[in-house]
């Protein structure tokens, strides 16, 4: 067994002080160092790809001894799902860093900013590649703290208010997660998700039920499912654009990933055959529909450019919840994970583009914008690509994943008639998503020009946006690689 995963975590950790020091001299170089770190991380990760695609278990595992008392070894692993999520996270962080070179140019305290960004990548990647729940929780919180400081420190108008809201909400969620993890340890005496899963099968279903609910509630806060979504519009719109891209792209996706991996993957099989299992999935579906409609409808009338996108994120997490509720079906789960990836790229791009518009115009209200397509052609193109992808229009990325979710939904209808109405409603939501996407594009970029002398964005911002836009198109036309990877993780998903 070679060791590729520990360096994946160590590299950005060790890079953080260097980034800080370098940034004191030149922030541009520091950002490029982050990009390089991420690239090196991706390279390290991709050495595991053969193990995942061709190995017998479709999984690559590393184990180090850690806290012997808790029977917890420092377990790192990647399978198709983790690999895809971690890779896309690193891509998004590096483009965010690139984008920041120009976007954050005039801001103060850039050394701290870039260092926090580097630390954030440790937490985010860590969440995706560990199978030890203790370590998972550790990374889960490590993801929260730098984001809090970035939102608060470099935010827009009332940043600390938004950051506080974000912190309080997600931390309250984290408490539920910790409760669930503690309960798993109590019941099974094990913190490794794969072993805990086997051990939970023999546990008392009543307890497992509460563990499942507690964990899912905690993760749902991170995902911003509707009753607990209040932190998201504020945090997303107050944060600086690169951070919004990360928040919307990967941090809320981490919540969805955690539901899939921990709630559904580890705990759910124990209660799957009981009537509660069905009810739980139905509950997820309902939550998904409510989120999808709520987000889409508000995005239709919201005037603030970044809040439109933020509500669209809520709507898309609705799709993901709906996809998760179809759990055991392979097409649906593949589609859901693929949607996390596609949504991350598209939404990241959309936030970067919105940031570009805000930076060039210095306003946020879309009603005051218009006709920018002529003045900011690159931004207009990337935004349109992103918005149409978000609306699920081929040949852009999100189409294929949404389509797979719907295929899974129709498969599920065959087994469970309950899903007929939810599926129909989700189809309506798909139309609504096009409506707000077109409204966004129309109000910002089309129509009579309302601003004179607006120029397009500086080169690094443009580069970041073009890279992501290319990725959106490529993922839309050739999703094969990720679909293969994700489907290879089906041994984990098979129940």
């Amino acid at each position: 067994m070679q060791s590729a995963l520990l360096p994946t975590l160590l590299l950005p950790t060790l890079a953080a002080p260097f980034v800080y020091l370098i940034c004191k001299r030149s922030s541009k170089v520091a950002a490029l160092v982050i990009v390089l770190t991420c690239a090196a991380d991706i390279a390290l990760l991709s050495t595991t790809a053969p193990y995942i695609l061709n190995g017998a278990s479709h999984r690559y595992v590393e184990s180090y001894s850690w806290i012997p008392v808790l029977h917890s070894s420092f377990m790192l692993f990647v399978d198709g799902i983790s690999f895809s999520m971690a890779t896309i996270t690193l891509v998004l962080i590096s483009t965010a860093a690139l984008f920041s070179i120009n976007y954050m140019q005039e801001r103060k305290g850039l050394a701290e900013y870039y260092t926090l960004l580097t630390l954030l990548s440790v937490g985010l990647v860590g969440v995706f590649i560990t199978s030890n729940l203790m370590l998972f929780y550790f990374c889960w919180e490590l993801m929260l703290v730098p984001s809090y400081f970035i939102i608060g420190g470099w935010g827009y108008k009332e940043p600390y208010r938004a950051a506080f809201k974000f912190f309080i909400f997600t931390h309250a969620g984290a408490v539920f997660v910790l409760l669930g993890i503690g309960a798993i340890f109590m019941v099974t005496g094990d913190l490794d998700i794969f072993q805990a899963r086997a051990a939970l099968m023999t546990a008392n279903p009543e307890i497992v039920k509460w563990i499942l609910l507690s964990l899912t509630a905690g993760f749902a806060v991170k995902m911003a499912a509707v009753p607990v979504h209040m932190w998201l519009p504020d945090a997303h719109s107050e944060a600086p654009a690169p951070m919004s891209a990360l928040l919307s792209g990967v941090i809320i996706s981490a919540g969805a990933y955690a539901i899939l991996r921990v709630s559904l993957g580890t705990v759910f099989p124990a209660v799957m055959s009981t009537s509660f299992g069905g009810q739980f999935l139905h509950g997820l579906a309902v939550l998904g529909i409510v989120s999808a409609f709520f987000g889409s409808l508000i995005a239709l009338v919201e005037p603030d450019i970044k809040r439109i996108i933020a509500y669209s994120s809520i709507a898309h997490m609705g799709y993901v919840l709906f996809g998760l509720s179809l759990f055991p079906f392979q097409e649906a789960t593949t589609g859901t994970v693929l949607h996390l990836i596609n949504h991350a790229v598209s939404k990241g791009l959309l936030f970067l583009s919105a940031g570009a518009v805000m930076r060039q115009l210095e306003i946020r209200d879309v009603r005051e914008m218009g006709g920018l397509a002529g003045q900011m052609p690159t931004t207009a193109t990337t935004s349109t690509i992103a918005a149409l992808s978000i609306a699920g229009i081929p040949p852009f990325a999100c189409f294929i994943s949404e389509f797979l979710i719907f295929v899974g939904a129709f498969q599920t209808i065959g087994n469970d008639g309950f899903y007929l109405i939810p599926t129909a409603l989700m189809l309506i939501a798909a139309v609504l998503s096009l409506a707000y996407a077109l409204r966004f594009v129309g109000q910002v970029f089309l129509g009579p020009a309302k601003h004179e002398k607006v120029s397009d964005v500086p080169p690094f911002m443009r580069l970041a946006m073009v890279v992501l836009a290319a990725l959106v198109v490529v993922l839309g036309i050739w999703p094969t690689f990720f679909i293969q990877l994700i489907m290879s993780a089906s041994s984990f998903l098979a129940v």
Binding site: I168, L388, F403, F410, V431, L432, L446, P448
Partner: protein
């Protein structure tokens, strides 16, 4: 311009490519192997017909655009999307599986959106694009659901697999699939109740409209229905109500489209509603077909070709007219036959072809549609079609009169219209010639389509033909006789005013979508936004605020009033205690203690001295007395004994000495 040439070459090569396709062939590459999806090309008569049609019309429209778009900006974008439009449509018809077809299907919608909004600075164009895209998207979602449902049951998107295994699908599912697909086709082909978008699409540059109406976009729905009939084959008959739904949707749309065309003042509106109506004919024909060998199937597709020819021609002419007059309002036009004689001549061709006069190819196609509908026994539908045909002549005549024939309007005196540029006339001429002579090529077309149909002028004299021609004549003459005024309402007088309003508003479909549906959704959204802003948004703050105020209360009541003063209280208690101690104990007692002690000692000393003196004196006297008494006793008792006397004296002396010493010491 260069891009236009590239397009020309591309399109031309497509045409020749497609001519080789006389057999069904299918080649594919693996695309998403884990889902069993391949990217493939299917060449069969249906796709060959469509692909050649699309390629040919794209070529014509590209040539036309060279002049028509010459003075426009952003031509790169224009040609990019025109090419993408064309290739998406070709991709759509040549896909060999539903997933790929759907992707191209959506891309067609995407291209139409960007082309309709081509003049993006104009608010109407931007809005029209949104409307078109959204309305067709509703249909796309139906189609998506149908494809997903089919995949869920069969596990494949491939056409050939579906044809082979479609019997295994349970009938309810098949019914759902068929109707959902019908929904998709209806929205894409602008049939009732989704026909409203086609008029909005008129905001596009006219060359785009020409392509959109002749070969791409609206024809996709017809393709889908035709393809579905091929795929499901005889099963279409077993799906309840499906064929008759197709037929009736087509028939009613035909009527609605024709009547709407009768009242619109917009020259492009006439063309748009005419397309709606003509595609209704195609749907009606397809509704009678249950397999590729049914006459209805071929009739529908033949009419598609003929409609493409005359409608494409119509739009090319309209483009020239708008170019020359700078307006779309027919009420401002008139007398263009003198200013634009070639256009007028071609316009007559359009008029006759649209109505379906022999020898234009549309005569044969319409004729076959009537035959197939009559032979399927749908007399009511046939009747509706006859009425629509009559109205078709009426609205065509009206448009011709308004634009070309009547007196020149005041407006045109100022504009000075001129004949269209050469490239535009050339491409229009090509279509006009084809329109006229295409019927000669009926034989190869029917062979290509494997249809057993004869097309020849000898059919002109059949009874149904006579009925058809009679209807047309009635329609035209009624219109001419009634009057040649601008609006139907004037013709009908004041009586049915509501009819006029209905027609002028396009049966209120537009109003329904914009005022009711869109407004409902927006008001729900605003409501939710309000909820979000007043309930959800501040909720955490209210919650936190509550906690903070609770903390404040605790702070005020407990902390400030009690806890924070507790140390002081304690301290002051201690201080008071100390004071009390100080006052009571220290000052009153302890301070004076030394004095008291000293006093006591002094008193003690005095009293001691007193008592000691007195008692010591007494003791001395007593002792002396006792000693003397005892000495005399001893003297008395032992007289004469000097020794005893001396010793007694000595003892006495000693005692005296002691006593003296005691006294002296004092």
């Amino acid at each position: 311009m260069a891009v236009g040439l590239v397009a020309t070459v591309l399109a031309a090569s497509m045409v020749t490519d497609v001519y080789f396709a006389s057999n069904t062939s299918n080649s594919s590459l693996p695309w998403i192997p884990s889902l069993g999806v391949n990217a493939g090309v299917l060449v069969d008569p249906l796709s060959a017909l469509f692909a050649s049609l699309v390629a040919f019309f794209s070529l014509v429209v590209m040539i036309y655009s060279i002049d028509y778009m010459a003075d426009q900006e952003n031509l790169t974008r224009y040609y990019f999307f025109m090419l993408l439009f064309m290739s998406s449509m070709i991709g759509l018809v040549m896909s060999d599986n539903f997933l790929q077809m759907f992707i191209f299907w959506e891309m067609v919608g995407l291209c139409s959106y960007s082309l309709i909004s081509f003049w993006y600075r104009r608010a109407e164009s931007a809005r029209a694009g949104v409307k078109v895209f959204l309305m067709t998207r509703v249909g796309d979602v139906f189609l998506l659901a149908a494809i997903a449902l089919l995949y869920a049951n069969l596990g494949s998107f491939s056409f050939s697999y579906i044809t082979a295994h479609v019997e295994n699908v349970p009938l309810p599912t098949l019914t759902a699939v068929a109707f959902l697909m019908l929904g998709g086709a209806v929205a894409k082909s602008a049939q009732l109740p989704f026909h409203a978008w086609l008029y909005a699409a008129m905001e596009a540059p006219t060359s785009v409209s020409a392509l959109l109406h002749s070969a791409t976009m609206v024809k996709a729905g017809v393709y889908l229905i035709a393809r579905l009939i091929l795929l499901f084959g005889p099963l279409t008959a077993s799906v309840p109500m499906w064929s008759s739904s197709v037929l009736w949707i087509g028939a009613i749309t035909t009527f609605v489209g024709a009547t709407s065309a009768l009242s619109t003042p917009d020259i492009k509106g006439v063309a748009a509603y005419s397309t709606v109506s003509q595609i209704g004919f195609m749907f009606t024909a397809l509704g009678t077909a249950h397999s590729a060998s049914s006459p209805g199937w071929f009739a529908g597709l033949l009419h598609l070709v003929s409609h493409a020819l005359f409608q494409g021609l119509d739009f090319l002419l309209i483009g020239g007219i708008i170019h020359a007059t700078k307006t779309r309002d027919m009420r401002l036009m008139g007398g263009l036959r003198k200013a634009m004689p070639i256009t007028f001549g071609l316009g007559i061709v359009v008029m006759l072809a649209r109505v379906g006069m022999p020898p234009f190819i549309s005569f044969f196609s319409k004729e076959m549609i009537f035959q197939s509908v009559l032979s399927s026994g749908n007399l009511h539908a046939a009747l509706l079609l006859y009425v629509s045909t009559a109205i078709t002549f009426a609205y065509t005549l009206r448009a011709t009169v308004l634009v070309y024939v009547r007196e020149k309007s005041d407006y045109l005196e100022q504009v000075h219209p001129h004949e269209a540029p050469r490239m535009m006339l050339f491409s229009a001429g090509v279509l006009a010639v084809l329109c006229t002579v295409a019927s000669l090529f009926g034989e190869p077309v029917s062979q290509l389509m494997r249809a057993d149909v004869e097309i020849g002028l000898n059919e002109v004299l059949s009874p149904s033909t006579l009925i058809f021609l009679f209807t047309v004549f009635v329609g035209g003459s009624t219109y001419l006789v009634c009057c040649r005024k601008t609006s139907l309402a004037e013709r009908l007088g004041q009586a049915p005013r509501y009819l006029n309003r209905i027609l002028e508003n396009g049966y209120f479909f537009d109003a329904f979508y914009e005022k009711v549906v869109a407004r409902c959704i927006l008001s729900i959204s605003s409501g939710l936004k309000w909820v979000e802003m007043t309930v959800f948004g501040p909720m955490p703050h209210i919650f936190v605020g509550r906690i903070v105020s609770l903390s404040n209360v605790v702070n005020e009541r407990v902390e400030k009033s009690l806890l924070s003063r507790l140390p002081y209280l304690l301290a002051s208690c201690i201080v008071r205690l100390s004071n009390a101690i100080h006052e009571n104990l220290e000052k009153s007692f302890l301070d004076r203690l030394p004095y008291l002690v000293a006093n006591g000692v002094t008193i003690l000393a005095h009293s001691t001295r007193y008592y000691l003196d007195v008692s010591a004196d007494g003791l001395l006297y007593m002792i002396t007395n006792k000693t003397l008494a005892s000495a005399s006793e001893i003297q008395k008792m032992r007289s004469g004994s000097i020794a005893r006397y001396i010793s007694a004296a000595l003892i006495g002396l000693l005692i005296i000495l002691v006593l003296t010493a005691l006294t002296m010491l004092r």
